[in-house]
Amino acid sequence: MDLDALYQEIILDHYRNPHHAGLRDPFESEVHHVNPTCGDEVTLRVHLNEDGTVGDVSYDAEGCSISQASASVMTDLVIGRPLSEALDTHAAFLELMQGKGQVEPDEDVLEDGIAFAGVAKFPARVKCALLSWMAFKDAAVQAQGEPA
C-alpha cells in the first residue's frame, strides 16, 4: 500500500498549517456538513463580492488530515476568483476524486489540489477529501441566491 501516495507532503503541510481556517465576517451563507460514516464535520461560510468574485471562504472543520488539508487547498483555489471559475474548479476536483485513480489532474486548474490524486485510489477516503468542497458549493449557491 503506497501510503506516501495518499499522504503527499503537500497534504501534510496543509494539514499542519491550514490556510484561511476559522470563521469570519462578513458572509452571506453558512452551511454545516457532516460525513455521517465517520463524524467529520465542517461549518463553512461564503462571502461573495458585488463583482461576483469569491470574497472569502472561512471554516471551522474537525476531521482527518485528508479532510482538513482539502479544506485548506480549496480555500486557496476559490478565494478571489470569479464564482463561475471557482465552481469549475469544484467540478474538476470532483471529477478527480470520483475517477478511481484513472483521471489525470490538470495542475493549472487544481494547483496543490493535484496532491489529492492519490486519495482517489482509497475509496474510503474520497468522502473526506470532498467534505469541504461540497460544503463550499452548497454555501456558494445559497450565497448567490441572497440579494447583494
Binding site: Y7, C38, G39, D40, G63, I66, F122
Partner: protein, 413 residues
C-alpha cells in the same frame, strides 16, 4: 469469571478461521482487531451453510416434501440452539430477525406507550438502541430520559431513583458498551426496573460473543443480539422475549407465515414465535448461526471471556506504554469488555486506521455508531481495537508497534 487466561489451544482455534491465514498488501499477515464490528467465521459455520444450500435447501414450514422437512428441521433446530444458548425458558420465545437493530425496533415499534409514559435508555447506547426509542416516543407522546456516563466510563447511577420511578415503562440498555467496553450492572437495573413495573430491554450485541448470556439469571424481559458478532453470518439476529409479553404485543410486520387465518376483511395471528416472523426467514443464516453457537459453546463462554480479559489486559498495558494515547472507558480489564476505544494525540482516528491498515492491522475509526458517548468525552471520533477468541498477544503487540509507527509517520510525540 473475571480472571484472565488465554485459551490454551489458541493456535488450534486460529486454524478454525480460514481468513486468519490471509496476507494483505505488502505481505503483511492480517491482524484482525475489528471483531466488535463483525467477527470472523470458523470453517464449521461456512461448511454448515454450504451443506445446507447444497443438500437441504427448500423453503420452510410450508413445503410438503422431504427437502422442506429437512430445511424446517434445520431452521427450527437453530432456534433450539439459541434457546439453550440464552437459557430461555421456552424455544417459542426466540424470534429470528435480520439483525439486532431489527430486534430492538420490533420491541420499540410494538410496545404500548402513550403520553405520560417514560422510556429510559443510556448515553452509551449504540444508535440502534437510541433511535428506535426516539421514534417510539415521537409516535406515542411518551418522554425519553437516560442514564449518563461517569468519568471512568461506567454508567452514572446517581439519578437512578428519579429515572426508575413510576411512569417509566421501558428501560432499554446495552449489556456491554460497543465503544467504552463497559459492562453494565444489568441484573441490578432489571431488579430496580421491575419494582416499578417497567420492562427491561437488553442489547446483548457485544455481550453474547463474550459472556455467558442467561436471560433468567439477569431477569431480563427482552434481549437482542446479532449473529454476525458471535462467529455466525450476517443477515440474522435474535430477539428473545418473555412469552406473556410477546403474546401481548401486536405483530410487527405483516405477511406470510405470521398468520393463523386470513380473510379479505381481517386476519388472526399465528402463535409466537411465528407471529413475529413474517415472510420467508433467513433460513441458511439461521443454520449458520446454529453452527456458530455450537462452536462458541464448545469452546465455552467462560473460557472465551477469560481469554478476552487476558487479551484486553495486555492491550490496555500496551496502550499505556504509548505516549499520547488516551483510553476512553474503564481501565480494569477484569470489569470491562474487549472493545477498547482510544485517542492518539495529534493524529486523527481515520489516519491512525489508515496507517495501521497499511501494515495489515484492521481496526475501526469513527464514532462507532455511538455519537452521544463520544460527545460525552468531548471527542468526535476514536480508534477502536476489539478482540475475540482468536486474538493473540502477538497481534496486540503488532498494534502497539503500529501506533508507534503512526506517530513517527505523522511526526508527533
Amino acid at each position: 469469571m473475571s480472571a484472565g487466561a488465554l485459551l490454551p489451544d489458541l493456535e488450534v482455534i486460529r486454524k478454525d478461521f480460514p481468513i486468519l491465514e490471509r496476507t494483505l498488501e505488502g505481505g503483511f499477515p492480517l491482524v484482525y482487531l475489528d471483531s466488535a464490528n463483525t467477527s470472523q467465521k470458523p470453517q464449521v459455520v461456512i461448511d454448515a451453510m454450504v451443506d445446507h444450500l447444497e443438500r437441504h435447501n427448500a423453503n420452510i414450514a410450508r413445503a410438503m416434501h422431504q427437502l422442506g422437512a429437512e430445511s424446517t428441521e434445520a431452521f427450527e433446530g437453530a432456534r433450539d440452539k439459541v434457546a439453550t444458548f440464552l437459557n430461555a425458558p421456552s424455544r417459542d420465545e426466540v424470534i429470528f430477525t435480520k439483525n439486532a437493530s431489527e430486534a430492538l425496533n420490533l420491541v420499540a415499534r410494538t410496545f404500548p406507550l402513550g403520553p405520560g409514559d417514560r422510556v429510559v435508555i443510556t448515553e452509551m447506547e449504540h444508535h440502534s438502541n437510541i433511535v428506535p426509542w426516539q421514534l417510539a416516543c415521537e409516535r406515542s407522546g411518551a418522554s425519553l430520559d437516560w442514564f449518563g456516563i461517569a468519568e471512568d466510563g461506567t454508567l452514572d447511577l446517581s439519578r437512578i431513583d428519579e429515572l426508575l420511578s413510576p411512569g417509566t415503562k421501558v428501560v432499554a440498555l446495552t449489556w456491554v458498551s460497543n465503544m467504552l467496553g463497559t459492562i453494565n450492572p444489568v441484573a441490578e437495573i432489571a431488579r430496580r426496573a421491575h419494582e416499578i413495573g417497567a420492562v427491561v430491554v437488553l442489547d446483548a450485541s457485544q455481550a453474547a460473543p463474550h459472556l455467558p448470556v442467561d436471560v433468567q439469571a439477569v431477569d431480563a424481559d427482552f434481549v437482542a443480539f446479532t449473529g454476525h458478532k458471535v462467529t455466525g453470518p450476517t443477515g440474522i439476529g435474535v430477539l428473545w422475549g418473555r412469552t406473556e409479553l410477546l403474546n401481548a404485543l401486536p405483530p410487527f410486520l405483516g405477511g406470510g407465515e405470521m398468520i393463523a387465518t386470513v380473510s379479505m376483511e381481517k386476519s388472526t395471528w399465528a402463535p409466537i414465535p411465528h407471529k413475529f416472523e413474517a415472510g420467508t426467514p433467513p433460513i441458511v443464516e439461521a443454520v449458520g448461526l446454529g453452527a456458530a453457537i455450537d462452536y462458541i459453546s464448545h469452546v465455552g463462554l467462560d473460557a472465551i471471556h477469560a481469554h478476552e480479559v487476558a487479551i484486553t489486559a495486555h492491550l490496555l498495558d500496551g496502550l499505556a506504554s504509548v505516549s499520547g494515547v488516551r483510553v476512553l472507558g474503564p481501565l480494569d480489564a477484569a470489569h470491562r469488555g474487549g472493545a477498547v476505544s482510544f485517542e492518539l494525540a495529534g493524529v486523527h482516528p481515520h489516519d491512525v486506521a489508515q496507517l495501521l491498515d497499511s501494515r495489515g492491522i484492521a481496526v475501526r475509526a469513527g464514532h462507532h455508531c455511538a455519537k452521544p458517548a463520544h460527545k460525552r468525552f468531548g471527542v468526535q471520533s476514536s480508534t477502536r481495537a476489539s478482540s475475540y477468541l482468536y486474538t493473540t498477544p502477538a497481534e496486540i503487540d503488532a498494534l502497539i508497534d503500529g501506533l508507534e509507527y503512526t506517530k513517527n509517520y505523522f511526526k508527533v510525540g
